[in-house]
């Protein structure tokens, strides 16, 4: 018996299309539109063509921010992904401690971003903060308001504290979903812990790790609130990442055209790198 296909159901998807159009497509189109124009306020716009893109591509400040952003994202990914995986592997799979561990791991994710920045701001203060004062007491000179290395150390530590939990929870969810039969087979074959990790757990976590890497990549590449509260992009411009640079252009200078051009290039970089990550990880799986 042939099943009747009722295409009228597609009309039910219309509200979603409308919402996506209003909250994603139209703003994106507007940004593209502004990127080729100049305004002096009073809602008057003048055609400027590719001027802002040309200016941006030769702007040392933008290139420096991009380099800092890439270094920051690479650093947090290199730390958070293995660390999150190791913590997930160490967590209990059954018993009363499971709930305790899950609650502890979820706590950093529940703290609002600006509060995270404030917490670490206070924590890292060299005269009264636990971290700052502690390091100075140990003879390690630490002042994140004056030393770029200290500022970077604090920003990275803050991000690791805030977001490693997400990787842990994703990996843990992936680990508990592996059927017990795999472990029984490994025991029968006499596989050690390393072999179990290498040939059972790691391949089974591939999708989860792909999602974790993508989420952490996109989020760390767009980091703003925590850093602006903690260091304000300083000392100097040493922790001024792309989003801070963008906001200063768009809101500080009200340069809508250059800010729109920067937004588009920023968006394209994130799109390209996310696509590359996803494609490469899926390709290695297909092999």
């Amino acid at each position: 018996m042939n099943k009747t296909v009722n295409n009228r159901a597609w009309w039910l998807v219309l509200p979603v299309f409308a919402m996506v159009a209003f909250n994603a497509l139209i703003p994106l189109i507007t940004v593209v539109n502004y990127s080729v124009q100049e305004t002096f306020g009073n809602n008057e716009f003048f055609w400027s063509g590719t001027t802002w893109f040309k200016q941006l591509l030769h702007d040392d400040q933008f290139i420096d921010s991009l380099q800092r952003q890439i270094i920051f994202t690479a650093t947090v990914l290199v730390i958070q992904i293995p660390l999150g995986l190791v913590i997930a592997l160490c967590m209990p799979r059954s018993g009363p401690w499971v709930s305790v561990c899950l609650v502890l791991m979820s706590l950093p994710l529940l703290v609002p971003w600006n509060v995270v920045g404030s917490m670490w701001n206070i924590m890292a203060l060299p005269d009264i903060g636990l971290l700052g004062k502690g390091l100075n007491a140990l003879g390690i000179p630490f002042n994140y308001t004056r030393q770029p290395v200290s500022a970077w150390f604090t920003v990275i530590l803050m991000d690791v504290w805030h977001w490693t939990s997400l990787v842990v929870l994703l990996c843990y969810a992936g680990l508990v979903s592996i059927p017990d039969a795999y472990y029984q087979a490994a025991r029968v074959d006499g596989a050690g812990p390393w072999a179990v990790f290498r040939y059972i757990q790691l391949p089974k976590l591939k999708h989860v790790l792909t999602i974790a890497i993508l989420l952490r990549f996109m989020d760390s590449f767009m980091i703003y609130t925590e850093v602006i509260v903690l260091t304000g992009g300083g000392p100097g411009s040493t922790t001024k990442f792309l989003s801070i640079d963008l906001v200063q252009k768009a809101l500080g200078g009200f340069d809508l055209g250059p800010a729109a051009a920067m937004s588009i290039v920023y968006f394209l970089i994130i799109l390209l790198l996310s696509w590359l990550f996803y494609t490469l990880m899926m390709r290695s799986e297909a092999k």
Binding site: I29, T30, V32, N33, Y34, V36, Q37, T39, N43, F45, W47, G49, T50, F53, K54, L57, H58, V265, L268, L271, L272, W275, T279, R283, A286
Partner: protein, 100 residues
């Protein structure tokens, strides 16, 4: 309703015909892929010269994204006019759709 102050008054968005043309091209390309899919269903999946499993939609995405970066690179190294960037982008599109 298009009067000043009306809810559909889009004058504040300062539309230009160039932006409109750009998005008509993008949405037109997506619509064309829909028509293509209607006549040749399945998306023509294959493994191309880049070693990736792609469908027609993937190939359009690669073409558009690649073209954006080709234009940006052209702008950074040569500036205007952009005809050279356009020529390279068209070659890129041909390579991706033919062998990608």
């Amino acid at each position: 309703m298009t009067g000043a102050g009306g809810i559909f008054d889009l004058a504040w968005m300062a539309w230009t015909w160039q932006t409109a043309l750009f998005f008509i091209f993008i949405f037109g390309s997506i619509a064309a892929m829909g028509v293509w899919e209607y006549y040749v269903p399945g998306g023509s999946p294959r493994r191309g010269i880049f070693g990736l499993d792609t469908t027609r939609g993937d190939r359009l995405f690669m073409t558009l994204l690649g073209s954006c970066f080709i234009f940006l690179a052209w702008l950074a190294f040569y500036g205007e006019p952009l005809w050279g960037g356009l020529a390279i982008s068209l070659c890129w599109a041909f390579v991706v759709f033919r062998w990608g």
